[in-house]
Symmetry: D2
Subunit: 133 residues, 4 copies
């Protein structure tokens, strides 16, 4: 499990007084940075090997400006050429949002998906929900 901390800015709020719902996909993407390093260690966009097939976000509570938000990131499914990331957003010990993202291992030159190599599968497996501290 990866932990990533966000300090919400005033521009993350909306007129209802809390964090706007569109910030969650942005924060969840930002929190996947460490996972992306498994595929592209120097995070050079020219060597990118992943595309996003689908996201899902469930809003279970409000998030507020003025307190840090911690994103927990797990790998919940490892398929042949794709995997699913499960993420949670916590603030002051309350779960506020849960997300899933389906990522496909992709060869941009060939414009097609590619099986996940074993070395990568092993690294992804270390972030499975059950094996996380």
């Amino acid at each position: 499990m990866y932990k990533h901390t966000i300090s919400p800015g005033f521009s993350d709020t909306d007129a209802l007084g809390h964090i706007n719902n569109t910030k969650l996909p942005i924060w969840f993407l930002e929190a996947r940075n460490e996972l992306f390093k498994i595929f592209t260690p120097d995070l050079d966009p020219k060597k990118w090997r992943l595309i996003l097939a689908k996201i899902e976000v469930e809003y279970v509570g409000e998030l507020f400006y003025g307190h840090d938000v911690t994103i927990h990131t797990y790998v919940s499914r490892i398929g042949s050429a794709s995997f699913t990331v499960y993420q949670e957003a916590w603030q002051q010990d309350k779960l506020a949002a849960k997300g899933q993202a389906v990522m496909v291992h992709f060869n941009f030159a060939e414009k097609q998906s590619e099986p996940l190599p074993d070395a990568i599968r092993m690294q992804l497996a270390q972030h499975a929900p059950e094996s996380s501290p």
Copy 2:
């Protein structure tokens, strides 16, 4: 069905050269403006009556800078106190993304959900997929 047109800006692109995936939830939200007027005709945030329970976005193609994007917005399900919005993002006659958003009719003063009034149900029903031109 509502149609809403977006002119992507340069800040909507990412280092892979196309529109970043996090823009879709933002554009889908923006395209729900007309739907929000059914609940709050003057769009005054102080009279807001909806909360977002869940979103889903499926990325089926790329979107590019330099061409308008049209968002189609339908009401695909009307429940007792909630409804589901189905949306599509089209660019140059190609479908690039499909989204769903579950909205709950909410009383912010009482902090609880409320049944959808019949007058509102009728208006929502006019945007069902089958009844759209």
Copy 3:
């Protein structure tokens, strides 16, 4: 003068109830799309020829969710290798923000600025404040 219309989305608001100040640089950039076509007619990022040296935004009034915002874009200065864009954001006949952006004509392969060709200078000059309708 170019005119570009924005329909603010709920995610453009902030907890003070109006449009957040960080949206203005984004909207002003989006409204420069037409100007960018003078340099890169098909807006292909791979053929980009401009970099941004400086922006300035003066906030003279509030902008609200629920009403369209119109951005007026002028070319206020044409230098040897750079030019300045002057922009205004209007809502319901009130001026809400004024911006300037200094753009440099840039050769990305050579990594250096280049004089503005005469053909481009002439096109830019058509958008000078005095020559606009």
Copy 4:
């Protein structure tokens, strides 16, 4: 001087391969959080006492995805009812952007600016460029 660290996300990049210029005003705003606490210690938007009159950003270098960005925040001018914030964005020991923001001490109930109280002036003065470590 305040230091605030940002981990750029993929959505902060643009099609030129680096961080998009519109992210700087957002990051500079986010880095002013600590300064805002001088005025509103619990950062409750309902007790907000500041409005933004003007921003300026000078882009002196590129910022890239894959490395943290540190924002340095100073108070460069203290006027009677307003003050100016000077900010710098650094990445891998290189200065990439410099910004200024003019903030006005504002009474939202009375809808007018108010002199900066002495207690606040003293706290702001501790972040003057010369007095920073």
